[in-house]
Symmetry: C2
C-alpha cells in the first residue's frame, strides 16, 4: 500500500538512501525531510531525494503517515518529545539506530499513546562516508534490516515498516532487543571502537609519519571504519554501553590469553587461535558467497 | 646487470610473485625454486614461475648468484645452516621476512663469512591468500620494500638487492633494524593479532551463528587479515615478540582509557579520540591518493 506522506528526520546517508530506494519503488506520494543543516537539505532537494523540507521537526511531521528517525542516537529523546503532540492518530514511527534498548527507552518515555506504533529498526548497512551526497538507492539491497518490536507493538505498524524495507530490497528479520544489542556490540560497535583506538594510538606515537608511511593494504582495510562519523559512533558507544563494555571485557580476556601465550612460548596455543579465527572467517565468507550466488540464480 | 641464477627458497605468494616480476623484467637467466611441497612446485613450473625446482635447499643453491629466502620465519635458521657450506664465494643472499632482528640473528649465527653479503629485506605487500597460485607479477608495484642492512653489509650486495626489487617496480628504502621492527609491529603485526583475536573471540561466543549472520561490511573489512596464513603470522608474532608486546601494551592502555571514559560518561574524551583517529586516517588516505595520482601523471 502506497504511503501518502513519509517524513525522514535526518536526511543523511541512511535517511537519504531509504528515501531514494522508496522513490525508486514508487512507495510514497511525497517524501518530506527534516534536518538542522539547510545546505544538506537543499542538496537533498537538488538530488531529488526529498520533495520538501522543514527546519522544525514539529512542522515536518504534520500529517505524516510514516516517520523515520535517521538522526544521531543522542537526539532521539528530544525529537520524540517534540513530535508527540502533533502526531496523527495512526502515524507509524520507526528508526534506524544501531542500538535499540536506549531508543525504546526514549520512545516509551516520550511517545505516550503513540508508543504502540513505534517499530524499532536497524538496517545493517552503511559506509564510512556520511551525508546525503553519499546516499544511494541500492544501499540496502540484499542487506538485513533487524526489527526489535515489543509485545505491545501494533502488528499493523510492524507490517507497514516491513513493507517499507522490503521495498528497499532489504531482508527484514526480527530479534529481541537485548539480543540485538549484544550481537551488534560484538560485530559492529567493538570493531569500530578498536579501529578508532588503534589509529589514534598510532597517531600519538612519536614516529607517526613513518608509521603510517609503511602501512600496507591490511592496515587500510582494518582501519576503514575509523573513517566513520565520530559523533555517530560516540553516540552508539554511550547508547549501547552495557553490551559494548561486556564484549570488550571478553575481548580483553582473549587478548590477555594471547599475550600470555606469546610470553610463555606457547606456540601451539597461538597457532590454534589463529587457525580457528581463519577457519571461522573463511566459513563466513564462503556462506556469504553462497548466499549471493543463490540470489543471482533466483534472479535469472 | 642480469642475474645468471636466482634461487627462490619458498615459492609461495611472495617468492612466486617476485619470480614472476623478475621474469617479466627479464632480470634472470634462470629461476630455481626450492620447497617442501612438490605439488606446489609443479604448479609453479606449470605457471611458468620457475624453470626448475629442488626438494633440497642445499641442491637448489649450488651455483646460485642470488638467493631469496621466502620461507616461514621459523625455518630460516635451519636453512641458513644447510646452505652455508655450498654457497658460491660471491653469492648475495636476501630475505622477505616481516620481522628483521630475528632473521639477522639467525643469519649472523649461521652464514659465517657470507654474512656480509646477506641483505635483510621486507616487501610491504601481501594478500590474505597464500601459495604460488595467488602470486602475481605486479604484487610489488608502487609498494615499498624496506632493507635493513648493517654497517658490515657489502654495498655491492645492497645494490644487487635494490636492483632486484626495483625491477619488480617497488620503491626501495632503508631503515634501522629496530626501527623497522617497531614500526611494523604497530602497523601490521598488532592489527593481525587483533583481527585474529576478535574473530576467534566471537566464534567462541554462544550465539556464534547469529553473530556472524549480522556482520556488516565493516566487519568483513576489519577482519580480512584474519584470513591470512596462521603459521606465517604465528612465526611473525614470536619473531617480533618484543616490539609486538610493547605496542600491544600501548594499545591496551589506550583501550583502558577509552573504557574509563565510557564508564564515567566522559563524552568529550570519546569524541576527541574518535575525531582524532578519523582525521589521521583520512589524512593517510588523502596522502596515498595524492601519491598515486602523482605516479599516474608521471606515467603519462
Amino acid at each position: 500500500m502506497k504511503i501518502n506522506r513519509l517524513v525522514i528526520l535526518g536526511v543523511g546517508l541512511i535517511g537519504g538512501s531509504l528515501a531514494q530506494a522508496l522513490r525508486r519503488a514508487d512507495m510514497c506520494n511525497s517524501i518530506v525531510g527534516y534536518g538542522r543543516n539547510e545546505a544538506n537539505l537543499n542538496k537533498a532537494i537538488e538530488l531529488g531525494v526529498i520533495d520538501e523540507y522543514f527546519l522544525s521537526a514539529k512542522d515536518a511531521v504534520q500529517d505524516a503517515d510514516v516517520i523515520v528517525l535517521a538522526t544521531p542516537l543522542a537526539t532521539n529523546r528530544a525529537l520524540f518529545q517534540e513530535i508527540t503532540p502533533v502526531l496523527k492518530q495512526d502515524a507509524v514511527i520507526t528508526d534506524v539506530g544501531s542500538a535499540k534498548a536506549c531508543v525504546i527507552k526514549d520512545a516509551r518515555a516520550s511517545l505516550g499513546e503513540h508508543f504502540s506504533r513505534f517499530v524499532p529498526g536497524h538496517p545493517i548497512a552503511g559506509k564510512e562516508k556520511s551525508g546525503v551526497e553519499a546516499a544511494s538507492a541500492n544501499l540496502f539491497e540484499k542487506h538485513v534490516v533487524i526489527l526489535t518490536p515489543l509485545p505491545e507493538t501494533s502488528v499493523h505498524a510492524i507490517a507497514q515498516v516491513t513493507q517499507l524495507w522490503e521495498a528497499a530490497c532489504a531482508e527484514v528479520i526480527t530479534l529481541k532487543v537485548e539480543h540485538h544489542d549484544e550481537v551488534l556490540a560484538a560485530t559492529s560497535h567493538l570493531p569500530h571502537l578498536l579501529a578508532y583506538a588503534l589509529v589514534d594510538c598510532l597517531a600519538k606515537m612519536q614516529e607517526r609519519e613513518e608509521i603510517f608511511r609503511f602501512a600496507a593494504g591490511g592496515f587500510i582495510d582494518f582501519t576503514r571504519i575509523a573513517s566513520s562519523n565520530p559523533q555517530m559512533w560516540h553516540d552508539i558507544c554511550f547508547s549501547n554501553r552495557k553490551s559494548l563494555l561486556s564484549v570488550l571485557d571478553k575481548f580483553d580476556n582473549h587478548i590477555n590469553e594471547i599475550r600470555t601465550a606469546i610470553e610463555s612460548d606457547n606456540s601451539e596455543k597461538i597457532l590454534q587461535i589463529f587457525s580457528s579465527a581463519k577457519n571461522a572467517r573463511d566459513k563466513l565468507i564462503a556462506e556469504r558467497q553462497q548466499l549471493n550466488s543463490a540470489d543471482s540464480e533466483k534472479q535469472i
